[in-house]
C-alpha cells in the first residue's frame, strides 16, 4: 500500500557519510537539487531533507510495485516549501507524483510520503528511541494501538477498539525510530 517514511539522525549521518566527497551529490541529486543544497542556509540539513524525501517516496512506490531499485535520481524533488520545522514537497517518479511532508529538527530529519495528498493528512507520526524493543515501547505508550509485522514482514498497525489493520511504515536510523500510520488506509495484509 501507499505510504512510506524515512528518518535521518543528523549526528549519525555526519559520522557515517561524507556528502562533500567528490561525486557523491552527483550520484543522488539532479543539478537543480544540488543547487538547492549549495544555496541552503544549512547545506547538510538540505542534503538529508531531500534524501529522506526521495527515500520515503521510494518506499511508498516499492510497497506498491515490490520492485527494488537504487536510483535516487529518478525521484525528483520539487515545490519545496519550508515553514519553520516543517516542510512539504512533491517527488515525481516517472509518471507518478508522491506527496511529502517533513519535519526538521537539530537532531533529525523525517519525511513521510503518500501517493494521495489527502492520505498525508491522515498520517499519525510517533518518534521513539531506537532499540530492539521499539515495538514493545510503542505499544506500551500507545493505548489502543498495536504495532506488529504482517505475514510478509511489513509493518502493520492494529487498532484494537475496531480491530482494523492500518497501513504503517517504520524507519530507524541512529538513535531514533519514526513510526507513521494512517487512520484511514486499511492494510491489505
Amino acid at each position: 500500500m501507499l505510504i512510506g517514511n524515512d528518518l535521518v539522525d543528523l549526528r549519525q549521518a555526519a559520522a557515517d557519510s561524507n556528502w562533500q566527497r567528490k561525486g557523491y551529490l552527483g550520484k543522488i541529486y539532479t543539478p537543480e537539487e544540488q543547487a538547492m543544497i549549495l544555496e541552503a542556509a544549512e547545506p547538510s540539513v538540505m542534503v538529508w531533507l531531500l534524501w529522506t524525501m526521495k527515500e520515503a517516496a521510494y518506499k511508498a512506490v516499492n510497497r506498491m510495485t515490490a520492485i527494488r531499485s537504487y536510483s535516487p535520481q529518478s525521484f525528483l524533488c520539487s515545490g519545496l516549501v519550508t515553514n519553520g520545522s516543517r516542510a512539504t514537497a512533491i517527488v515525481s517518479h516517472h509518471e507518478s507524483m508522491i506527496f511529502i511532508k517533513s519535519e526538521i529538527s537539530s537532531r533529525m530529519v523525517h519525511s513521510a510520503a503518500a501517493l494521495k495528498k489527502e492520505d498525508l493528512e491522515e498520517l499519525t507520526l510517533s518518534y521513539m528511541d531506537n532499540s530492539a524493543d521499539y515495538r514493545a515501547d510503542f505499544n506500551r505508550s500507545s493505548p489502543g494501538y498495536f504495532l506488529t509485522k504482517s505475514s510478509t514482514g511489513l509493518p502493520l498497525m492494529i487498532h484494537h477498539p475496531t480491530g482494523c489493520k492500518l497501513i504503517a511504515s517504520v524507519s530507524h536510523h541512529g538513535k531514533y525510530v519514526a513510526i507513521v500510520y494512517s487512520g484511514s488506509l486499511l492494510s491489505a495484509d
Binding site: 535521518v8 549521518a13 557515517d16 566527497r21 557523491y24 550520484k27 531499485s69 536510483s71 535520481q73 529518478s74
Partner: protein, 87 residues
C-alpha cells in the same frame, strides 16, 4: 580478474559500510548489500564511488539502479571493464 578476486575486492570495499559482520564473513555472489550486509542506503553511494575509483570505471544511473547485490556489482564491473554497455 576472476569472480573470486572480484568478490575479494568488493569485500574490501564494503567492509567499512557493512553492519552485519557475519554476513560480511560469508560474502558471496548472492549477498545483498542492503538486506544481508545491512549497508545504509546512503552509504551505497560510497560503495558505487569506491567501485568506480578502484576499477577506473564510470557507473551510470541505469547500472547503479541494479547494483543491489554482489552478483549485480560483478556483472556491472565486468561489463564496464570489457567496454560493453549491457541494457
Amino acid at each position: 580478474m576472476d569472480k573470486r578476486e572480484l568478490i575479494t575486492e568488493l569485500k574490501t570495499i564494503v567492509t567499512p559500510y557493512a553492519q552485519d559482520p557475519e554476513a560480511l564473513d560469508n560474502i558471496g555472489e548472492d549477498t545483498d548489500f542492503i538486506k544481508d550486509l545491512k549497508i545504509n542506503s546512503a552509504n551505497l553511494v560510497d560503495v558505487v564511488l569506491d567501485v568506480e575509483e578502484k576499477f577506473g570505471i564510470e557507473i551510470d544511473n541505469d547500472s547503479m539502479a541494479k547494483m543491489l547485490t554482489v552478483k549485480a556489482a560483478i556483472e556491472i564491473i565486468e561489463d564496464k571493464l570489457a567496454g560493453v554497455d549491457r541494457k
